[in-house]
Each structure stands twice: as structure tokens, then as C-alpha cells.
């Protein structure tokens, strides 16, 4: 039995055959630089093994072989974990309300205590499913619960009688997937693509518009109105067609709420269901206090308890209607934790992945309280963490390292905190022992930086979107400027939802943002906001944490563009020429890809809880067909190259400037540890941001630019954060402005100028409570972070 989880001979990924022992019933922090092997150990080994063991006794038809990633593991109890990169894949329609089941509870409450407007009241009792958007009884039948509709102008599409048949729908009809069916339709009806609309008989026109049951061409209108059903027009094309001939409108029946008429007009204390779903949880909690009565006491109590757990974890600023994909990694992690603490289990092993991300110092204290409560309830809690505040209160520390990738994977330390501080080999301990280590290093590194003599400023006037209280501020240019404040205080509202869209409007073609991202629409409320000082800006680079590369076979090498160069190198080898392989054979989603798994390298099995990814037998996880792997460039095949880390690849491709240039930049932003073949769907938000930064740095060479980054050091160890800060400083010194929104105290302490929003989140936030140099904020009584700055 014993009171330790003991793992022997662990060799997953870069772990170097290590033995690790973790005490049960305690809080253990696993730390180390990015890429050292922490997550591999915590999730790929401990979590997976706990899950596998549990499944092998409960799911009888699923026989799972033991892993050869380790010799043995003793003392494990069933594991519950939330790894950041996994939960990113959740259902896009999921909301905070659906994930926490609060929406069902609220529906229950309405069915008991809701009062329907007399106009819509038919005397019959209300039922719970009437308030559920995805239930046939609850959904608005006009928009089917989505809250919006696409309408098309049929007249406009067929207006021009002189338009040729092959030019309909901006020519998209006679192209791509739809071409075959369209041409077949034309032929069957004796028509030619070059004929004009005017030449059609009424009957033919009708068929063109609406199809004919006997033929496979569904008709132009059904094709665009039910695009996803027929799948003949790509989503990009649909966007363009909608832009030209249609528009997305809020459902005129339910006004965006998605519920049926009766539910939309039922109120609790004069508020509708939709209004309550859009309130912040903090506000909702207060509201429910007033709505409690004898009939609904039980439900209200249950809802408020749930909300209180969420508030405790720093999520009180969220609303039930908030879509899950818009949450930050840390918020998502804590949302899942709130479910665990409510479960009230004991004797489980919980494994969390940097739950402190995105939390303000004060909020971290609450998180620590929650983690300790889970432990005292009789569980083992293991957190993968970089954060000093969390590590310093852990009962036990495990550090892996010393470096990343092949330079990591060793057990540097395991033991209690007090011994950790004195560990000479530990990289992290230095930052913990001396809290000023980071800032001292920084000052030392930058002491010879040229003094900046700029006075230019970027002025923002009248920002009032969301909770911002009519802010006006003057951002000093050519400096590193930090924005601080608790979650929900308004940082994103100010930067991402005001400054960026406004800049887009004003300096349109000088804004550089990832193609996929057009998430920041320009709401009318920004019309009154004024920005001055754009004449000082050459280009503006917006780099955030939105994921990169959605395709299942997209990886680091493909995203950064090095893969094209690598594939060319392989195609030019003698081996490849002999076999007749060109560039395309070395791509995962073309002929060279494994047909069984589609180039992914693994197959997904849907089991009891969670999905199991099993290595594809055909290609043994490489994603390639055997023949392609026979081709070698400098004694390595393409799969082996993809397994290299950025750092290793730098050495391997040392004589290929095109590749080295990009890889060096990746290393500079702290991504040296990442493997070339790592799938972009598995990287964290922070990693995605740094990769984008590297990509942009690779392009620009001039000055007078603004770089806007969102928590760039998230997910980085103190050492890696240091390197990133130096890089940002370099960018600044080269004559640019860097704007960062941050929680990390060390980073904020290194900024030249700070703006602090608050004092709290939601309605109680949105004020500019302090501004100035870090030194001045330390003295400023109004500043909350001032007390924490180094």
C-alpha cells in the first residue's frame, strides 16, 4: 500500500528513464522549463495510466495493453485531469451555462417561479424543457434555437437577365464541388453554361432556382439556404455569397434569444431567461437572493452554491451565455475544477494543468484555498505549474529539466519546499528563493540599453464598451507598456475590443493579424471613441492566443512554412528520385500519408469517459506510408525530422539558411523545445502566440511599429519568460512600441509604463485606477498590484 505514488523507469517522450515518487493526500507541484517533460509526466504518464487502469476493469470489451512508457507505477488511484490542450477541442456550441449545467437549473427555476406575460399566458403550466434552446419544446421554430437567420435576396441573384449561367452566384456554381452536378443539370435540361438567364423558359428557371426532385442538382436557393446539408459550396465561398446577396439577421421571432414565444415572455422578478443568462455570475448571485421563496428555495440554493464555487475560482465575471471557445485556457481549466470540487469525492488523484493562468495575485490566493480544500477532503492533487505563488505553498515539489526536449527529461529534484529552495541544480528554485532574481537579471541585461527620447503618445478617448467607464488614456510610444487588472476588469475590452478594431478602421492596411482571425467585429458603440497619434505608427502587429492551424495534419513545420523547404530537400535526394517521389509525397495529407489514419498517426476510440487515442498500427504513429520513410536526408527520414525539436533541427539544417532563419526565431521566443511535427491543435494558447510572434519577427525589419500581445508569458517558466522579455526589450529598443496585457508580476515590473484597470471585475471594474512607472505604482495607494510589484 504505502502513502506514495511511485513511478519507475519512466521514458515517455524525452523523459530519461526516471523514478519519481509523489506523496498521496498532499498538494504536489511539478515544475520545470517549458518542454522539460512536466506535462508528459503528469498527463501522458500518470493521468493516462490512471485512466487506463480504471477502464481496463470497468470496460470489459476494451482490452488495453500496458504501456511500455514506464516499468511500473504503484499507488495510483483513479485519475481525473484536465489538460489544457485537450479541452480546447470542446463543442463550439457549448457555453458556461451548458458546461456547468446551470442552464438546466435555471430552466427548472423558471418552470417553477416564472410568470408569463398575460398576452402569452395560456393557463397551462410551464415545463423545464420549454426553456431549453435545443429541446423541441423550447426552441424557437424560426431559427431552431440559434438566435439568428440568414436571408437571401432571391431577386438580386437572378436579376441580371444577361448574366451567363456559368457566372451565377459569382461563378462559384460552375466551379469546385458543385460544378459536376451543375453541369449535369444543365445538360439534362438542354442548356449550356454560356447561355444567359434570359434565354431560360419559366419552367427551366424554376428548376434552376429550386431543383427538381428527379435530378441531383438541388437548385440554387436550397443550395445556399441549406449549404451545410448539400456541401457543394465551401464555407469561404458561402461567406462571399452571403456578403453579396444575403445577410445574417437576428431572428425576428425570438430576437436572438433562441427560445419559443412563451419562454421568451416569461419573467422571474421581471427579468427574462435571456437577461439572466447574460448577467455576470456575480450579478446573478445577487439577483437570485431576492428571487428566493418557499417554492423554489431548494433550486435557488443549489444554483447559488454552484455560482459561489465559480466565483471562488475567479470566474464570477463570466455569464452563463458565454461561449466556451472564447474562454482563456486558465478560465476553462478553473471551470472544470469547479465541477470537481462540487463532486465532493475523496481518494482520487486530481491532475491540473497550470490552473493559475490568467489569475491576478489576489485571485491566486483563492485558488490555493480551493486546491487545499480538495486535498483536505482526502484527495491527492498534482498541479503542473510555473507560478511562484502556487509552488511556494505546495507540500511537495518535483522538478524536471534542466532544459527542454533532449536537454530535459531528467529528475532534478523531488522533495519538500524548504529543501527545494536550496537545490543548486534547480533552475526554478533560484527565482523562488530570491523573488527579485528575475527583475535583477533583467536590469542587469538591459542596463546598457539606449535611452529613449521619445515623447509621442497614442491617445484613446471615450472608451466605453462593455464595462469601461468612459476611459481616456495616453499611451507612451516607443516603450514597453503593460496593462494590468483582475479578470474582467476591462483589459481585453480596452485593447482587443476597442483599440484594435478602431486601429483597423483607421489604418486599415497597416494592421497585421492572423488570417483566420476576424473575431473582432466593429460594433457601432466604437463610433464615439477617438484615437489620436496614428501618424506615428508604421504597422501594428496584433498577436494573441487564438489557436493556429485548424487542420488535423497541420503542425509547427507546416504553419511556419519550413516544411515546404524540408519537403523540397527530401524530394531532391537520390533516394527520392529513384523512387519517383516528388514534394507531395512528403506531405501528410497527400499521397505519402498513411491511408488508415489519414496522416494523423493515431486513431480515436470513443470509450466510456473521454476518448482514447491509439497509435495507428499501419504507420506506427508516423503518419506516413512505409516507402516514404525509406527516403533519407543526411541519414534521417522525414518522420525522424518531424520528431526533432526546433533546437535540434537548427543544428541539423545548419546549412540551409531558409530553414535556420525561422527556427532561430522560434528558439528566440522560447519555443526551442517544441517538436517540428507537433500538431498545432495540441499547442497551448501561449505557445500559439509566441509562434505567431516569431513568424512576424521573421518578416518585419523596420521600426515605428506597435506590437500588441496578450499575456505573452503565459505557460512559460520564469527562465523562458526572461528570454521573451529580453526579446521584447530588443524589439522596443529597435524603435518600436510593445503593448502587453499581463498578470505576471515579474513582467509587469519590467515594463516602462503601466496602466491598471479595476478595481474589480464586471460592473465594479472598467475604471483606470492607476498609471505610471512601476516605481510610482508601488507608492500609489489606489493601485492593487503596486503592493506586489518587484
Amino acid at each position: 500500500m504505502g502513502n506514495h505514488i511511485k513511478a519507475y523507469g519512466v521514458k515517455k517522450h524525452n523523459l530519461k528513464n526516471i523514478d519519481v515518487s509523489i506523496p498521496k493526500g498532499k498538494l504536489t507541484a511539478i515544475t520545470g522549463v517549458s518542454g522539460s517533460g512536466k506535462s508528459s509526466f503528469a498527463f501522458d504518464v500518470l493521468y493516462e495510466e490512471g485512466k487506463r487502469k480504471y477502464l481496463s476493469i470497468t470496460e470489459s470489451q476494451f482490452s488495453l495493453e500496458t504501456s511500455n512508457d514506464f516499468e511500473r507505477i504503484e499507488g495510483l488511484s483513479p485519475t481525473i485531469g484536465v489538460e489544457q490542450r485537450i479541452i480546447r477541442q470542446s463543442n463550439p456550441l457549448s457555453t458556461v451555462g451548458t458546461k456547468t449545467k446551470l442552464i438546466n437549473a435555471l430552466a427548472s427555476l423558471f418552470s417553477v417561479s416564472g410568470v408569463t406575460d398575460p398576452e402569452y399566458d395560456d393557463g397551462k403550466p410551464l415545463s423545464v424543457d420549454m426553456f431549453q434552446k435545443n429541446s423541441p419544446n423550447g426552441m424557437c421554430l424560426h431559427c431552431l434555437g440559434t438566435g439568428e437567420k440568414k436571408v437571401f435576396d432571391e431577386e438580386k441573384i437572378f436579376e441580371d437577365r444577361n448574366a451567363k449561367l456559368n457566372a451565377l452566384l459569382l461563378g462559384f456554381l460552375d466551379r469546385g464541388k458543385s460544378q459536376k452536378k451543375y453541369r449535369a443539370f444543365l445538360e439534362q435540361n438542354g442548356l449550356f453554361p454560356s447561355q444567359t438567364l434570359g434565354e431560360l423558359t419559366d419552367e427551366q428557371l424554376q428548376k434552376l432556382k429550386y431543383g427538381d426532385r428527379k435530378e441531383t442538382f438541388p437548385g440554387v436557393m436550397p443550395l445556399i439556404m441549406n449549404a451545410s446539408k448539400y456541401n457543394l459550396i465551401s464555407s469561404r465561398q458561402m461567406e462571399i455569397i452571403t456578403g453579396e446577396y444575403g445577410k445574417k439577421i437576428i431572428c425576428p421571432r425570438c430576437h436572438g434569444v433562441g427560445l419559443n414565444q412563451i419562454a421568451s415572455h416569461t419573467r422571474l422578478q421581471d427579468r427574462t431567461f435571456a437577461e439572466l443568462s447574460n448577467m455576470s455570475l456575480n450579478e446573478l448571485d445577487k439577483f437570485l437572493l431576492n428571487a428566493e421563496d418557499d417554492k423554489n428555495k431548494k433550486i435557488v440554493k443549489a444554483i447559488r452554491l454552484r455560482i459561489q464555487y465559480l466565483v471562488m475560482l475567479g470566474l464570477g465575471h463570466l455569464s452563463m451565455s458565454r461561449p466556451i471557445p472564447t474562454l482563456s485556457g486558465g478560465e476553462l481549466q478553473r471551470l472544470c475544477i469547479s465541477a470537481f470540487i462540487m463532486s465532493d469525492f475523496d481518494s482520487l488523484t486530481f491532475i491540473f494543468d497550470e490552473p493559475s493562468i490568467g489569475l491576478h495575485e489576489r485571485e491566486k490566493e483563492k485558488l490555493i484555498e480551493v486546491l487545499k480544500n480538495i486535498v483536505s477532503a482526502g484527495n491527492t492533487v498534482i498541479v503542473v505549474e510555473h507560478d511562484e505563488s502556487i509552488i511556494s505553498v505546495a507540500d511537495y515539489i518535483v522538478e524536471l529539466g534542466p532544459g527542454a526536449g533532449t536537454e530535459g527529461g531528467e529528475l532534478i529534484f523531488q522533495g519538500e519546499y524548504k529543501d527545494f529552495l536550496n537545490c543548486e541544480d534547480s533552475v526554478t528554485a533560484k527565482y523562488l528563493k530570491d523573488r527579485k532574481y528575475f527583475i535583477e537579471n533583467y536590469k542587469h541585461q538591459t542596463k546598457n540599453a539606449p535611452a529613449s527620447h521619445h515623447d509621442e503618445r497614442l491617445r484613446i478617448c471615450g472608451a466605453r464598451i462593455h464595462n469601461l467607464k468612459n476611459l481616456s488614456l495616453s499611451i507612451p510610444l516607443y516603450k514597453m507598456v503593460g496593462f494590468a487588472g483582475v479578470s474582467g476588469s476591462g483589459k481585453s475590452s480596452l485593447i482587443a475590443h476597442t483599440l484594435v478594431p478602431k486601429l483597423k478602421m483607421l489604418i486599415r492596411n497597416r494592421i497585421v493579424q492572423d488570417e483566420d482571425e476576424d473575431i473582432y467585429d466593429y460594433p457601432r458603440e466604437l463610433d464615439d471613441v477617438q484615437i489620436q497619434g496614428t501618424e506615428y505608427i508604421n504597422k501594428c502587429y496584433v498577436i494573441n492566443q487564438q489557436p493556429i492551424g485548424r487542420a488535423k495534419t497541420s503542425n509547427i513545420a507546416t504553419y511556419t512554412g519550413v516544411f515546404d523547404v524540408i519537403r523540397k530537400l527530401f524530394a531532391e535526394t537520390e533516394d527520392a528520385k529513384d523512387l519517383g517521389f516528388d514534394m507531395s509525397f512528403f506531405s501528410l495529407n497527400a499521397e505519402g500519408g498513411c491511408p488508415t489514419c489519414g496522416g494523423q498517426g493515431f486513431l480515436v476510440y470513443h470509450v466510456g469517459f473521454g476518448d482514447m487515442n491509439m497509435i495507428c498500427d499501419e504507420c506506427h504513429g508516423t503518419g506516413y506510408i512505409e516507402e516514404v520513410l525509406d527516403v533519407k536526408y543526411h541519414h534521417k527520414n522525414i518522420a525522424e525530422v518531424l520528431e526533432m525539436t526546433v533546437k535540434e533541427a537548427c543544428g541539423f539544417f545548419g546549412d540551409v539558411p531558409k530553414i535556420v532563419q525561422i527556427l532561430r526565431l522560434l528558439d528566440k521566443v522560447g519555443m526551442g523545445y517544441i517538436q517540428l511535427g507537433q500538431k498545432t491543435t495540441t499547442i497551448s494558447g501561449g505557445e500559439a502566440q509566441r509562434i505567431k510572434l516569431a513568424k512576424e519577427l521573421g518578416k518585419s525589419r523596420n521600426k515605428d511599429n506597435i506590437y500588441i500581445l496578450d499575456e505573452p508569458t503565459v505557460g512559460l517558466s520564469p527562465k523562458d519568460s526572461e528570454h521573451l522579455i529580453y526579446l521584447l526589450r530588443e524589439i522596443c529598443n529597435a524603435g518600436n512600441t510593445v503593448i502587453v496585457t499581463e498578470h505576471d508580476i515579474d513582467v509587469l515590473s519590467c515594463c516602462d509604463y503601466l496602466f491598471e484597470l479595476g478595481p474589480k471585475g464586471g460592473e465594479e471594474g472598467g475604471y483606470l485606477i492607476a498609471e505610471g512607472t512601476p516605481e510610482s505604482l508601488k507608492e500609489n495607494a489606489n493601485s492593487v498590484i503596486g503592493g506586489y510589484l518587484k
Partner: protein
């Protein structure tokens, strides 16, 4: 008065022993809710079985066989030029609800579309007595508006889906076009000649509505013999008591499968042997033209909504000589 004569089993081509075993069959299978079994062969009543306290005149609820009744009413309208064609789109009949602005697909929905249940409106069927979408429709202030708002997910006339929107709409269209309710039409052009005794259908302020939408539990009720007459009408190419009530062409159209095994509110047998009307709780009206056979089954409805078709498939059909 239209009376049906009685006849013997053997002389009309049915095995006596098998048919008389129906009673045992019902008992053995515990069909406790069974109320009527009526067989008409060669225009004669050849067998009757009635449950407790019932006889051939006892009225029972038709439930969904009402749809087949509505189909008959349409046939009557066509025959008497109250409605000119089945190809009239609903945008012409009820333009204030159904028009291009509301939904571009509305103009493709004709009376024929509604008869074949291919309107394309979004619908999810629930378990029989607990149909949430029907509930939603029922509770809307103006159910025609609710249907007009309903999202259309399939191009009209392409996909069959059994749903109540189509029949509700059909009723409303008929009333708008003729100024008469289904009951009025049948009571004028059919019931007197067929000797059918039927109470007026449920009325609502706007129009006669297929009973489901009313708050009233009752629905159209007919005796076994009167229900059988509907079957006979179709068997006899639209004629009853020497009167052409609906055209023979209509009978053909209505009892031919259009999309999937469905005609104009008639379920068509997959093997082509005939067609039937079905109602919740065990109501069945079967017609087998080749055998000059009409069978009526009626039962007390229950939440379990059972069907007693084995009486037909396992006994009656086997008894055909």
C-alpha cells in the same frame, strides 16, 4: 338509406375456421382494449366481432384516420369544383401568412405537397402522446403564424415526413378556398348518401382544426360500419350507393405511393396489395382491392398505443382462399 347486406364467409372466399378463431386470438393475445373487428368482402359484411358492450353502431375515436377523412373531403371538393386543382400554392391561398418575405420556400408548397406530407417544415416526432413540437404549436397564439414561422429544412416536395403541420395547414386551406369546413363538405356531399351518422367536428374560432390542436379531448368518432364505408368508397373507385362522391382518378392518385409509402394521407402497403389508414391506439382501416376486402379494427386508446395488426396479417389474410 344506404345499407350493407350480410354474407357468408365460405361463399365469399374466406376460411371459416380461421376467421372464427379471431375471438380466441384476441383472448390469447390479451387484446383487452379491442372493440371492433369488421370484415367486408365482396360488398357484404361477412364477419363482426365487438368488445364489451359494443356493436356495429358504437362510435369510436378515429385519431389519425381523420387524415384519410380529410383526404376524402379534398376529393369531394375536386369532384364538385369547390377546389380547382391540387397545384395551388399556399402563397395564393393564405398570402397573409405564407409569402416570399416570410420564407422563399413557401411558394413551392401546394395542396398536393400538404397531402403527401412533403412540406419540408422542421419537425421532430416525439413519443405518441408526448409530442413536444405539437405542444409548442398548440400553445402559440396564432398557430398559422407559428407554422409560417417554422424553419423549412428540406426543399418542399422532396422529403416525406409525417407531421401535423401539413394537415393543420390543409384544413385551413380548404376552409379558405371553399368557405366551408371539412365537416360541412362531407355532410353535404357524402354522409347522406353513405348513410353515415357523424357529429359535427370540433370547431375553433378560426376554423375546424384537426382535433389535436384543440383543448378538447374528443376527436372525430365513427362506428365501425361507417368507417368501413370510407374504405368501400375507395374500393369502389369513388362510388357509394351509386353516387360518384370522389372521382376514380382521385382514388388512384390518393392510393398510390408518392414519396415513400404514402399517398394522400393514406399509408400504402409496401407489397402493393393495398392501402390503410392508421390511428393511435389501434385504429386501422385496410383496403385490399384485389380481394375486394375492407377490414376495420377499432380499440380503446391507451398511453401504450398498441397496434393489433396481427389480427389482419396472421389471421384474416391467411384465411383468404
Amino acid at each position: 338509406m344506404f345499407e350493407l347486406s350480410e354474407g357468408g364467409l365460405s361463399e365469399n372466399g374466406l376460411d371459416e375456421n380461421l376467421i372464427y378463431s379471431i375471438d380466441d386470438f384476441i383472448r390469447a393475445n390479451r387484446y383487452r382494449l379491442m372493440r371492433s373487428v369488421l370484415i367486408i368482402k365482396n360488398q357484404k359484411i361477412v364477419y363482426e366481432w365487438y368488445g364489451e358492450k359494443c356493436n356495429r353502431e358504437t362510435k369510436h375515436a378515429l385519431h389519425s384516420i381523420e387524415k384519410s377523412v380529410v383526404s376524402t373531403a379534398i376529393g369531394v371538393c375536386l369532384n364538385n369544383h369547390l377546389i380547382e386543382s391540387l397545384d395551388i400554392p399556399i402563397t395564393q391561398i393564405l398570402p397573409e401568412y405564407f409569402n416570399d418575405e416570410a420564407n422563399v420556400f413557401h411558394k413551392l408548397i401546394t395542396l398536393k405537397t400538404l397531402l403527401t406530407m412533403t412540406s419540408g417544415f422542421y419537425w421532430r416526432n416525439g413519443p405518441h402522446l408526448n409530442d413536444p413540437m405539437r405542444e409548442q404549436l398548440k400553445r402559440s397564439k396564432d398557430w398559422l403564424q407559428a407554422i409560417a414561422d417554422c424553419n423549412i429544412v428540406n426543399t418542399p416536395n422532396t422529403d416525406f415526413q409525417y407531421k401535423v403541420t401539413d394537415i393543420y395547414l390543409m384544413n385551413a386551406c380548404m376552409e379558405r378556398l371553399t368557405g366551408k369546413t371539412v365537416y360541412d363538405i362531407l355532410n353535404e356531399y357524402m354522409f347522406p348518401y353513405a348513410g353515415i351518422d357523424c357529429d359535427p367536428f370540433i370547431m375553433t374560432p378560426t376554423c375546424t382544426v384537426y382535433h389535436d390542436l384543440t383543448q378538447v379531448k374528443d376527436c372525430m368518432e365513427l362506428s365501425a360500419i361507417d368507417l368501413a364505408k370510407f374504405g368501400l368508397l375507395y374500393l369502389n373507385h369513388g362510388k357509394l350507393n351509386n353516387r360518384q362522391i370522389i372521382t376514380a382518378e382521385y382514388v388512384d392518385e390518393a392510393t398510390t405511393a408518392h414519396i415513400e409509402n404514402y399517398g394522400y394521407y393514406w399509408w400504402i402497403h409496401e407489397d402493393g396489395s393495398g392501402y390503410r389508414g392508421l390511428g393511435r391506439g389501434g385504429q386501422e382501416l385496410h383496403v385490399y382491392p384485389a380481394h375486394e376486402l375492407v377490414v376495420v379494427l377499432q380499440a380503446q386508446d391507451s398511453p401504450r398505443s398498441k397496434f393489433y395488426t396481427p389480427i389482419i396479417t396472421d389471421v384474416i389474410l391467411k384465411a383468404l382462399k
